[in-house]
Symmetry: C2
Subunit: 375 residues, 2 copies
């Protein structure tokens, strides 16, 4: 990452740091979205996405919206009967709320927050035959849980009439996802996470099975109508005006990722995640079980009852910013994201400053009581 | 507008030229959308929008989407009974299709394309009492028609239960719109027109009346749920992650517009529009009646049956690009947009090159026959 003017470096799970060369790529002069020059851009992006998402036969939708919008689209386009919403945190809960907000029949299947899905419970629910879509989250950004897509795949493949949606908002490009092999029908992400672009663009890989289902549904809405998307996609266009500058940035990032080697990128995330996990276990505790801890955001149990808001105020003086816990977990946990352009050196820096501010090394490995506030 | 590297200059009705200083403003480092620094940005933008849209008591929604998305939101949030879709071209027709695509009851009220609305017909339709929303377009981008908002206002104000939506996609900031005084409940635009930003952000001003209606509607969807927007707006945030770089650009442009003086900006559009209209009448004819011709895009009847696609190929060699007709009007009309950063000098340049390529002056004021193709 090239040098950039001093600013508060973000260790939150999106938006994440954007490299100056990405902003430069985004600053290309405008082009008409019905011109060939635009179609060439979209075509290039699609082909690269098919490669990095291991989905040569999926369609690639590029939506001027956050991923939330396409997640709404998935439910409106693919649920004719009833949705099974698998919930393990705030963002998977949101997908359930989207179903309800659109008047879809949907049931919530919960696990305790901080835990990954219970695939046996999912199997049992799908066996009822009540559901034609299932919605799951890959990385639950609120709890730092990474669900096991292989295990989910094994269960869901037993039910060929069930269309499978995966929220990979903070996980896409954070690890290898063999979309097609796993049988994922809908894999969605926003670009302000592992793609390290400013927010405002969502990406979805969509299977032919999902598109077949959409054809059977009369009222799919408009802005996120998959059939309309497919119609324009055939011309390498989008139905509404696309987010051209973000697409220029995406094309640039995809080139970089492919040139640098995907495995190298994924290894970088693994290394950063391992470092944060070890640090967390030394001074605090991991919120999710270690084996289910996300490779892009680590959620740490605030076992010392320290004040996370105060920490961020002090970090701001050092041009650093981490994430408090999400919703009810606000002060019970805190989160360190290690995604996008961030490097192991960045991670080491922020954690050492946290150690210093909270004087963690003074107490060595002892996790001290809440009364003294860690001092 | 500062100098920019050579590129094809766009005279199409969006996306339009983006100034280098706007790209620079968009290249600010990322910030967290739940941080105070973000709320400060959104608050600033809202206050400036209320000023330039003359709507001090409306809410200002900033959506990471094209305007089409918020137009869908308007119908889902405000139509409980039945929508009257006033159609005078392809984009007002689209708003009707959005209603149908969402399973809303809606009737189309058509005028001949190229003509502005017939307010008597609208009055008659509303008098039936069947409708609780009316959707109208201000500038119909496909035909170059500008509808008379004052005249519409007089009619619609007679029906206090009817919530009024105005598609001002290519017209917002192209002329003064006294939103609140006119009684417009929902005024929407995309930023890739008169705001001269890259696409990916939509702006809507929404009245309290419209928000009251939304409260009475149970299934409003999710991504464009106005009640959810209002809830987050109270904290100067958006429900989903906002398009931060575009918002930085918008804030920059609003400062410029206010500093330069709105009246000066509107006068610039009037001057460019007048120049193009005179040129059109000299060599061709205007597609809409002159009094209803848009101030941001002029639609010209291709009375000489010249080949517009060929023209654009030749213009491309000179780094210029104009717009062919929309849909069925593809070769029957062509369009010159005069919006955003474009100046009268730009307009004079492109028109003189068109004259040269088509050898219009050889034939003087004579509009020659179709057989000779204008040569």
């Amino acid at each position: 990452m090239s040098s950039q003017k001093p600013h508060v470096k973000l260790f939150i799970p999106g938006p994440t740091e954007v490299a100056p060369e990405v902003f430069e790529a985004m600053s290309k002069p405008m082009i008409g979205h019905r011109q060939k020059v635009y179609s060439d851009l979209q075509k290039q992006i699609k082909e690269k996405l098919k490669a990095v998402l291991f989905a040569p036969n999926h369609m690639m939708f590029l939506s001027a919206s956050s991923a939330t919008g396409l997640m709404e689209g998935f439910l409106r386009n693919c649920t004719a009967k009833r949705n099974l919403s698998c919930i393990c945190g705030a963002f998977s809960l949101r997908w359930h709320e989207i179903a309800i907000g659109n008047g879809k029949e949907a049931d919530a299947l919960n696990v305790e927050w901080g835990q990954p899905y219970d695939t046996n419970a999912i199997d049992k629910a799908l066996a009822t035959g009540k559901y034609d879509t299932i919605t799951t989250v890959y990385n639950e950004t609120s709890t730092g849980v990474k669900n096991d897509l292989e295990a989910l795949s094994k269960v869901i493949k037993k039910y060929p009439d069930v269309i499978w949606g995966v929220d990979a908002v903070s996980g896409m490009m954070g690890a290898k996802i063999e979309t097609e092999k796993l049988g994922i029908d809908f894999l969605v992400a926003s670009v302000q996470k592992c793609f390290a672009l400013p927010p405002g663009l969502a990406i979805a890989a969509i299977s032919n099975r999902a598109m077949e289902r959409a054809k059977s549904i009369p009222t799919r809405g408009y802005y996120f109508d998959f059939i309309d998307y497919a119609k324009y996609d055939a011309k390498d266009q989008t139905p509404a005006t696309p987010a051209i500058s973000l697409l220029n940035g995406l094309n640039f990032q995809l080139d970089r990722f492919i040139k640098d080697g995907l495995e190298n990128r994924f290894r970088k995330y693994d290394e950063m995640a391992e470092y944060v996990r070890n640090w967390a276990e030394k001074f605090f505790a991991l919120y999710p079980p270690r084996h289910a801890s996300s490779q892009t955001v680590t959620c740490i149990k605030n076992t010392r009852n320290l004040n996370v808001s105060d920490l961020n105020k002090k970090l701001a003086e050092r041009n650093l910013h981490i994430s408090n816990g999400y919703g009810d977990l606000k002060e019970k946990t805190f989160r360190i994201a290690h995604m996008g352009e961030l490097t192991l050196a960045d991670i080491k820096e922020v954690l050492s400053v946290v150690e210093e501010i909270w004087q963690l090394n003074k107490n060595g490995n002892e996790k001290c009581c809440s009364a003294c506030g860690g001092h």
